[in-house]
Structure formats: C-alpha cells, structure tokens
C-alpha cells in the first residue's frame, strides 16, 4: 500500500495554540484548564490578554495533565502539583545530561 509521507510540526516555542484549541487537543475541560493556569502549571504568552494564547510546549504539559487525571483520579490542584514537580525533574535531568555531555567519555562512563 502506498503511504504518502506527512510533515510533522515541532511542539516548540515558535508555534502557538489558542485556549479553545488547547481545550480541544488536551481532552481537559475549560474549567480544568483555567484552574491549571490559576495554579501556574501553564502560563499564557500574555496572561492579561482577553484571548489567551499558549506556546506549543504547553500542549505537552496539558496532555500529560490529561493522562495523570485519567490514571490517578487527580483534581486540578493535584495535577498542577505533579506537573510542577515533573517540570523540576525534567529540568534537572536536562542539566545532568548537559553536564554529562561535557565530561570526557571515559569519565562519563564511570
């Protein structure tokens, strides 16, 4: 069967989603997403704007939020707490990975 290749889009800083798009793509309700913003789990580009817009990376966060809610029956406050801790872990892992990359290989392997 002939399968045509499709272009993929990076979820990064240079693409954005509106609030309704994020609701649709995350599987979370508007109220849940509002609470995640209130608790600081995700931040709109301009929180004062009447039309919230979010960086592409936020979609990764809210999809994780959806999975955590479904798997652990967490409320938005619990989800926001887990997400902030996961963010810290990911940040530390990135830092660790970067420091390991800078070590000469024979040292990095030990």
């Amino acid at each position: 069967m002939q399968v045509n290749p499709v272009e993929a889009v990076w979820l990064a800083e240079d693409n954005e989603f509106s609030f309704p798009e994020l609701v649709e793509l995350s599987g979370l309700s508007e109220a849940e997403l509002h609470e995640l913003v209130d608790y600081g789990a995700i931040t709109p580009v301009d929180p004062d704007s009447p039309q919230w817009v979010f960086k592409g990376r936020c979609l990764i966060t809210v999809r994780a939020a959806y999975r955590l809610r479904a798997s652990f029956d967490l409320d938005p406050h619990g989800i926001a707490l887990v997400i902030s801790l996961l963010d810290r872990i990911h940040g530390l892992e990135e830092e660790l990975g970067s420091l390991r990359a800078q070590l000469p290989r024979h040292t990095a392997r030990t």
Partner: protein, 317 residues
C-alpha cells in the same frame, strides 16, 4: 482470542474487593506510569495494568470478565455461548477481536450511530509513539515508517485492533526528547468528531563520537603533548563533514574549543555549536628516541604542575 489474567496482572485474587483492586492499581500505576516512571519497559507494563483496571473497576465489566472463565495467560479461548447476548451485542462476532477491544466495546456501543438518544460526537484517539533516530538523521532530517497496531471502530461500531502504516517526514534539527505533532493522523473521529493526532517523541541513539546537549554537540579531542604545547591544525569530524580546527598553543586538558554553528540545526536557520574537549594523550609505548627527547625536556623544563600543593599546605597550616 488470547486470554489475559487481569487479576494476575494487578496481583490480586479473583474475590478481591473493589477498594483493594483500586489500591493495587494505584501502586502499580505509581511504578509504571510513563509520565512518572523511568523504567524503559514501564509504558508497556502500564498499558497492561491500565487495561486490567479499566475492566475490573467497572462492576458490569468485571462480572462479564468473570463469566469468561479462567484460563492460562496467552491461552486461546472463546467466550461461552450466550455471553454476547448477556453482556454485549448478540450479533457481534468475536472474530479478530482481542480482549481489550471486547471490553472497550461493552461501553463502545454508546458511540454507535443511531443507538440510544442519538449519536455523540467523539474525537478520535490520539496516538503517542517514540521514534528512535540517529544523530545523522536528526542533523539532515529524515523520513521514517511507523507500523502500529491501533484500536479503531469498524463500520458496525465494534472496536478492533488494526495495523496501520505511517510515513513521517521528520524535519532536520530534532533534539532528544522533542515532540512532533501530526494533526489528524490519530484515530478516526466518531459521528463527526475530529480525528485524533499522532504525537512523536524523538529519542536519539547514542553516537560513538558525539554527545548531545540540546542542539550543542560535544566531542573528545585527543591531542599529543606537543600539539597541546605548540598548537596545531587538526582535522575533526563534524556531522556536516570534517573540518580543520586550529588548536591554540598552550591548550590545557579539558579546555573547550568551540566550533560555531557545527551542532544540530535549530529552527529559523540557526544551529547549535560543536565543542571539542581537549584531552592530552601520551603514547602507550614511547620509542627509545622519544624517551630520550622527553628526558631532555625534563632536564631543561622548570614547569611544576604540582607547585600549588606546597603553597596550599603552607597557607593552611
């Protein structure tokens, strides 16, 4: 269809009460959930655990599961006669269906057009896959073929697992852990709901020479003692082909020599950097002549790399 022991997967007995099943599930979910677990096999294990709990947490589904009987895990079996009439759609065939789809179908009937109070628009399922690619593929961009077995509703509204092939063009500049979204390439929406998306999680294979940090690359650069002292022009590999690197005189071990824009490409025509980390390497077996020359050097040199030892000890006491 193959039998799965849902009680065994959750590590509970068949007569365990609902609360204890929930507790057993949560314990295993903490251990294997892909968002919190570092276990490489965690995702697969979590899928099993979640599938088992999805059925056993629901009293109706649990009763239906119990009615199937008990078999060895992986053993071929068929639901007893009348099982379909009692729990599912009597007209549904069990041909080509697996246990997960069978139980998903027990609630899936509500998605079918024309049933109950009317069709409900349901978005298609999102698929999430890890794509392992090489550093060279990340550098120049690549096309990969993904063969997945995904759950899809057939024309009768029954959930089936079907093989699907996706060809995905990964743009250049992928960094480890980056995510790609392919809109509308997930499961088909139901009753006019939007199609799901396909998410790719990029994982880079370790490279024998380069280590990756974001879009920057690190390379060990072995130098002879005389190259380090005198300076040299040496050829170093990069992902775009070899280049000449000027090593300045008096280069120390561990010093980073930066090759600007020789790392992984980023968006907007930017690139990460390549850092060559100087390592001073001595010959494992020096020839007689080399030893002689080193001895001459030792005789004339006043360089003492441990001079600060004495200084530090004196100032501390």
């Amino acid at each position: 269809m193959k039998y799965k022991d849902y009680y065994g997967i959750l590590g509970v007995k068949r007569d365990t009460v609902a609360d204890a099943i929930k507790k057993a599930y949560r314990k295993l979910a903490h251990k294997y959930h892909p968002d919190v677990s570092k276990d490489p096999a965690g995702e697969e294990k979590f899928k099993e655990v979640a599938e088992a709990y999805e059925t056993l947490k629901d009293p109706e589904k649990r009763a239906a599961y119990d009615q199937l009987g008990s078999y060895q895990p992986g053993q071929d079996f068929q639901p007893p006669p009348d099982w379909g009439r009692q729990f599912g759609d009597a007209e549904s065939s069990f041909e080509g269906i697996d246990l997960e789809s069978l139980f998903a179908g027990l609630s899936g009937g509500r998605h079918r057009a024309g049933h109950g109070s009317g069709p409900i628009r349901m978005p298609g399922q999102d698929y999430e896959v890890t794509a392992h690619i090489s550093l060279e593929e990340a550098f120049r961009g690549t096309e990969i073929e993904l063969n997945l077995t995904v759950p899809e509703y057939d024309e009768k509204g029954s959930l089936r697992r079907v093989p699907r092939t996706f060809k995905v063009r990964i743009p250049k500049g992928a960094a480890d852990g980056q995510r790609l979204r392919l809109a509308g390439r997930g499961g088909k929406g139901i009753n006019g709901g939007r199609d799901g998306d396909l998410y790719l999680n990029i994982a880079l294979h370790p490279h024998p020479l380069f280590r990756v940090s974001g879009h920057d690359l690190y390379l060990d650069l072995p130098l002879t003692p005389w190259e380090a002292v005198l300076g040299a022009s040496v050829e170093v590999p990069t992902l775009g082909g070899p280049v000449q690197l000027k090593v300045p005189p008096n280069t120390r071990a561990g010093q980073h020599l930066r090759l600007t824009r020789r790392g992984l490409p980023k968006s907007h025509d930017k690139e990460g950097d390549l850092f060559a980390i100087a390592q001073i390497v001595v010959p494992t077996a020096a020839s007689e002549r080399e030893r002689e020359l080193f001895k001459q050097l030792a005789d004339v040199s006043t360089f003492n790399p441990r001079g600060h030892f004495q200084q530090e000890v004196t100032s501390a006491s």
